[in-house]
Amino acid sequence: MTEGIGARVLRKEDKRFLMGKGRYTDDIVEPNQAYAAFVRSPHAHAEVKGIDASAAEAMDGVVAVLNGEQLTGDGIGNIICGWGVTQKDGSGMNMGAWSALATSKVRYVGDAVAVVIADSIEQARNAAEAVEVDYKILPAVAQSMKALTNDAPEIHDNAPGNVVFDWEIGDLAPTDAALAGAAYITEMDITNNRLAPNPMEPRSAVATYNDAEEHYTLYTTSQNPHVARLVLSAFYQVAPEHKLRVIAPDVGGGFGSKIYIYPEEITCLWASMKTNRSVKWTSDRTEAFLTDAHGRDHVSTAKIGFDKDHKIVGLKVNTKANIGAYMSLFSSAVPTYLYATLLSGQYNIANIYCDVQAVYTNTVPVDAYRGAGRPEACFLVERIMETAAREMGVSPVELRRKNFVTSFPHQTPVIMAYDSGDFATNQDQALKAADYDGFEARRTEAASRGKLRGIGFSNYIEACGIAPSAAVGSLGAGVGLWESAEVRVNPVGTIEVLTGSHSHGQGHETTFTQIVAERFGLPTENIQIVHGDTDKVQFGMGTYGSRSGAVGMSAIFKALDKVEAKVKKIAAHVLEASEDDIVIEGGEVKVAGTDKLMGWHEVGLAAYTGHNLPEGMEPGLKETSFYDPTNFTFPAGCYICEVEVDPETGVTDIVQFVASDDFGTIINPMIVEGQVHGGIAQGIGQAMLENVVYDDDAQQLSASYMDYAMPRADDLPNYSVHHASTECPGNPLGMKGCGEAGAIGSPPAVINAITDAIGNNDLSMPATSAKVWAAIQAASAKQAAE
C-alpha cells in the first residue's frame, strides 16, 4: 500500500496553494460588502470620557460609527474565559469584564473603543482617524512583577492587586522536607519571554446578516469554527446557534492565536446586523501585534534537590504568569493545567510543588501559543537539569539518564500519568546522530579558529491529544475535548470524511485520507476531507494541542470501523457468504479463500439502491463517531543543539541541531518532519530572536517586523530529525501528536548550548548577539576578578 500509514504522500492541498488558488477569508467578497476599521486606544490605560464621532460620520462613504455603549446596549455579552481555575483558598478567579468594544475604560494599547463601517477600506480607515476619543490617562504597567507591587495601578476593580488567581499543585510540605534533606540544591530564576504568534495570514472576518431569514454567516480565520459558533451564540448572544453559520475556509497558520473568538469577529457580526451590510475586517500586521493573543511571559523561580547519588528528590517552583489586560479563552489553563502538570519532565520525581500567580497587566491578552504551557515547563525543567549537572560537576547526559522514568504507566505527583515512552533510546539515538563522542574534538578545533563551541540538551515531554472530557471537566474546562467524524461512502464508492478538526497548515487533507486508504485499499484521490464549515460538518472541537491526529483521526478510525462492519454485512449478503469470511483489500471486498468478490463501488451502489440488502438493514453508507480520548498522549524526545559563538561579536551560529522524537505511530513521515522543522524554527526564534517589548508606560515597541525579529532561513541550520517510537496505548492508531514538540523541546537546547559555549549560565531569551556578547564580557570580568 503506497498511500497508507507510513507513506510519504505529497500534500494534496499544496496544489491549490502553489497555484495561488487557496481561498482565504480575505478572498471572500460578498455583494454589498462594507469594511470595518477599528478605533484603537493609543494609551495603555485610560478612562474613556467621551467619543465624538460627528466628523467621522460626516465623511464620504461612512455607513456607521458604532461604540461599546451601543454594543452592550444591544445585549452583546462580555468575552468569556473557557476554563475556571480554583484558587488556593477555594475561591474562583478574579475575572474582569471584557467588552468587545470598550465602554468606560481601555486597558491596553490596541483596545478597541469604536468601529467605523464604510464603503471602502480607505474611507473606513480615514474616518477612524477622525473619531475623537477623550481619554483620561491612567498609570499603566506591563510587567507581572511590577503589577504585583503595592503602588501598581489597579487594572480591574474586582482583581485586587491585579491578581487573577493564586493557584497551586502538588504537596508543599513533603516537597520542602525533601529539599531540606537534599545533598545538592540548584536554584534559578527563569524567565520565559513574551512572543507574538505571527501566523502568515493575519486574522480576518466577513460577516453577513440576512434580514429576510434573520440568519448570520461568518467567514473567519478560526482553528475551531464550531466552538466559535457556540461561543458567539451561547455567550455573546450575537445570534442563535441554528441561525449562525461559521466558515473557516483556508486558514494560513494559527499556532493557537486563532482558537479564540476576538472582539473583531463579534463586532463584525453585530455591525452587519446594525448596518444591514456585509462587513469585512482584515488585520494589518501591526494590528496583529496589538490584538492577537500573545504567548508565554512567565517569570519563575525554581529549586531542585538531589540526593548524594544525583537522584532528584524534589522540585519547587513559583511562577508569575502575565495574563495581559483581559482573560482570553484558555488563558487560565495555559499557566496551570497545561504547564505545571508537565514539571516532572522525563524524570522520576517524588515531590513536586508549584504555585502560580496569574497577573493582570496593561498588555495584549496572553493565551495558548504553539505548545501552550508545555514550552514554559520544558524550558524550566531542562534549564535547571543542565544547570544542576554543571553545578554538581556531572555529565548532563548521565544526570538525565539516571533520573529517567523507565516503567509505564507512571503517575507523576502533578496529575499526569505517562502511558508510554522510551526516553533512553531517544537519547541514545540523538547522541549518536550528533556524534556526541566527537564533540570535545570539535570544540578544540573551533577554539583554534577563535570560536567558542558549546553543546546543549533538552529531553522534553509534553501532553497532547487533549483531552478526556470528564478529566478536563473536573479541572475546570467549560467544554469536552472529544472529536467527531463522519465517513460518507458515496453511491459510486468515493468517500468524503467530515471532520471536526480544522486544518490550517497541518496537512489534514493528506494525512486523514491515508488512514482511509489504508483501511480499504483505495487510492487517496478517491477520498476528500471536508472541514471548517458548521453547515457541512457535525459539531467538532477543532485543532490545537496536537489533537487532530490522536483525537480527530481516532474519531475517523472509529467511524471507519462502523463503515467496515456495514460493508461486510452487505457483501456477505450479496455474495452469500459468512460476514466473518469477508476481507477488504485493494479496493475490493472479497470472500476469503474464494474468487468471489465485489468492487468497492459495487458495495456503495448496493447500499444506496437498497435493492438487495440484509433483512432490516437501512439503506445508505454513512457513519458517524464521536471519540473521547481516555488519556492525554505524551510525545517525548531528545534534542541536541550545538553552537559556535564569535567571542568578539556574540554572533551565534547553530552548527548542528538533532531531534529524536517519540510520536507513536507516524502516518506521513514527510508531514511529521515538516511539523518538527517548523516547531524547531519557532523554538529557535524564541531562544535567539523573538521578543515582544513594552516600555515602562506599557507602550508596545515591537509591533512590526522592523523591531520583532522572526527567524529567517539563514538563522536556521539543517535539522537532523529522527524517530524512536513507542505506540500510544490510549488510542486505536497509537498516535501521540507532533504539532508542538519542536517548539517545546528546542529553546532549552539552544540556551543550554550557548551557555555551555560561553561559560556563563546567566543568559535570558532571546539570546541576541548583544546579550551573548555582554554575557561573555561578564564571564571574563568575573574570571579576572577571581
Binding site: 493609543p42 494599547v109 507602550q699 515591537s702
Partner: protein
C-alpha cells in the same frame, strides 16, 4: 527619553525672554508648526506636522508655560494627539543667563510617545527629537540674530 542642550544667542536676555513668550516667534521656529494660538499669557494651542520614521502625522495639542521666573527661566510643557499615529507629550525647562552682550540659553527636555509612533518608530524617537530640538533652537537663534540668507526649515 531625555534631551539637553545649550545655545549662545547674540541678543540681550530681555530680548530672548520676550521672544520665548511670543507666539509668532515660536510658531516661526517650531519645525512643522502650522498654527500656534495664544489663548492667555501661559496657554497656547498648536498644530504641528511631523514625520517620525514611517509615521507621518499632524499633532493637535496644548502648550502651557509654567514656573515662570521672568526673565530667567520657565518650563514649557505640552501634549499632542496625532490621531491613529498616537500621541506625544513632554516638557522642557529653559534657563537664560547673561554673558556680556549675549545670552546663554540652556534646556533640559523629556518626551514620551505612544501608539503607532511607539510601535513603529520608537528606535527613531531619540534622534528625531534631538534633531527637532536642534532645529528649533537654531531657528530661534537665527530669528534673534537676523542674517542674510536665513531660511526657516
Amino acid at each position: 527619553m531625555e534631551l539637553k542642550g545649550e545655545y549662545r544667542i547674540a541678543a540681550s536676555k530681555a530680548k530672548v525672554w520676550a521672544a520665548l513668550n511670543d507666539a509668532e516667534t515660536l510658531e516661526g521656529c517650531i519645525p512643522g508648526c502650522e498654527e500656534l494660538d495664544k489663548s492667555s499669557d501661559t496657554e497656547m494651542s498648536a498644530k504641528v506636522a511631523l514625520k517620525i520614521g514611517p509615521v507621518k502625522a499632524r499633532f493637535k495639542g496644548n502648550v502651557t508655560l509654567e514656573n515662570l521666573d521672568p526673565p530667567n527661566a520657565y518650563s514649557i510643557v505640552g501634549e499632542g494627539q496625532g490621531g491613529v499615529a498616537g500621541f506625544a507629550k513632554g516638557g522642557a525647562d529653559v534657563q537664560l543667563s547673561e554673558d556680556g552682550d549675549e545670552t546663554i540659553l540652556s534646556y533640559q527636555a523629556n518626551a514620551q510617545v505612544g501608539g503607532k509612533i511607539a510601535q513603529l518608530g520608537s528606535r527613531l524617537i531619540q534622534s528625531t527629537a534631538a534633531k527637532l530640538a536642534d532645529k528649533f533652537f537654531a531657528n530661534f537663534r537665527d530669528a534673534l540674530e537676523p542674517q542674510e540668507g536665513d531660511v526657516k526649515d
